[in-house]
Symmetry: C2
Subunit: 257 residues, 2 copies
């Protein structure tokens, strides 16, 4: 390994900044940590910027193939000491590799090219957002629209909990979800919001251009979105629980569409 | 408040021990923290042992009604200083109240008195177990059988993530799940295990005495349980994700039964 392969102070500073949303927004980059995420990233058309490997961890199973793929992309691989890794890692147990990847905000018109759209309104829990992305990927649902006020899709916890599925879906981070939904409605989409006390989802009919809106864990779907909806639905329950987890509700709906 | 209402050193030591599984097993008690959990506990027939309130937090919304209910049960209420609470709390932000509650392991024959049984085999993630309990409660599914090797149902994280639904379901902690399932099968139950590559769940037919088995996040359903199953099923997916989260899989199945 040549001297240039060692982590510089400037690189370290840059990566540490990516732990914070404001710098992920500024630089348009984020961190993918671990073998599974790295493998899915490299199999995708997303843009890789930089790969960081912990010195002495080159033998981690699966890492060799990943480094080959990084080399094929002509992207630099940098080796960091265990001490530096302590500052850079986003998981408690560093899995040997970290990729710096460019964010990819799919434009609204591209979301319209096919299939249903899952719209998340102010979903704030990272695990819920990640699980929804992973479940959408399982069911082959490609399009996800995130309202302003959702947890950052590129936060390490969300990225990790998507288990690599982040790289299989199209996501659009909206600046004004009411406006975006209005635009989609204008082009023929139907909007179905999931609300407590809505009609049973068994009555929900797919038109081929459908948007399913899920609200925040604590406040549900925003009033302005409820008002522009073509239908309000809920998942019938016969027990005593007050609510379903938002990821669970989204997963159950996705299993039916 | 009288002097006896203050937390003693022995009480403090006892409660701190309940943070560990081995003492929860030894004492047969666990901790419920927060208004929502306390409210559901008090509305149930579970046995309350002791209530701990943080001094100066008596004004927390909902707490007054809870303390009334505790008094009606003739159970002691103890006041603890913010300093003591730091040692006792199981959440980052103490919500004002903690209940010490007796564990309740429903016997296997009681699980057989009605409806389907959800069996979890070595499910190790607390959030997953809690979400499954909460979702079962939503769908009115009453019976949960936990294999040896599952995360402790009474760990603070599991209890919290059930959102009070723990008190609405019957759970049996098995010492030998193969034996228990054999016994249930002998009394007429059908066993359906969820495995990768099983038949589509659309082919699954309910008999009224059904057990649905979900495996661990990393290893799936144990071979011995697969072998004694009456059917192997999976949730069809058309995307690229390798797997569904176990709580999600269980929730989707529960939404159909």
């Amino acid at each position: 390994m040549s001297k240039e392969d060692k982590l510089s102070a400037a690189q370290k500073k840059h990566i540490k900044k990516l732990h914070q949303k404001k710098y992920r927004d500024e630089f348009g980059e984020f961190i993918v940590e671990g073998i599974k995420g790295a493998r899915e990233m490299l199999a995708s058309d997303w843009t890789l910027v930089h790969a960081i490997v912990e010195e002495g961890r080159e033998g981690v199973p699966g890492l060799g193939q990943i480094l080959n793929d990084v080399v094929h992309r002509s992207v630099p691989i940098t080796y960091a000491t265990p001490k530096d890794i302590k500052d850079l890692q986003t998981t408690d147990t560093f899995p040997g590799i970290q990729l710096i990847v460019s964010k990819k905000n799919v434009q609204l018109d591209k979301l319209q090219r096919g299939g249903p759209i899952i719209c998340l309104d102010h979903v704030s829990d990272p695990g819920n957002l990640g699980t929804i992305v992973r479940t959408a990927d399982w069911f082959g649902i490609k399009n996800i629209l995130l309202s302003e006020g959702c947890v950052d899709l590129y936060s390490p916890k969300v990225v990790r909990s998507t288990m690599g599925s982040l790289f299989h879906v199209n996501t659009h981070q909206s600046q004004d979800v009411t406006e975006d939904l209005g635009e989609l409605r204008g082009s023929g989409y139907k909007i179905y919001s999931m609300t407590m006390g809505g009609e049973s989802i068994q009555k929900m009919q797919s038109t081929g251009k459908d948007i399913y809106v899920f609200g925040s864990e604590s406040h549900g779907v925003s009033q302005s979105l409820v008002e522009m909806s073509d239908g309000l639905y809920s998942i019938p329950g016969s027990g005593q629980a007050e609510s379903l987890n938002v990821a669970m509700a989204a997963g159950i709906i996705m299993s039916r569409i």
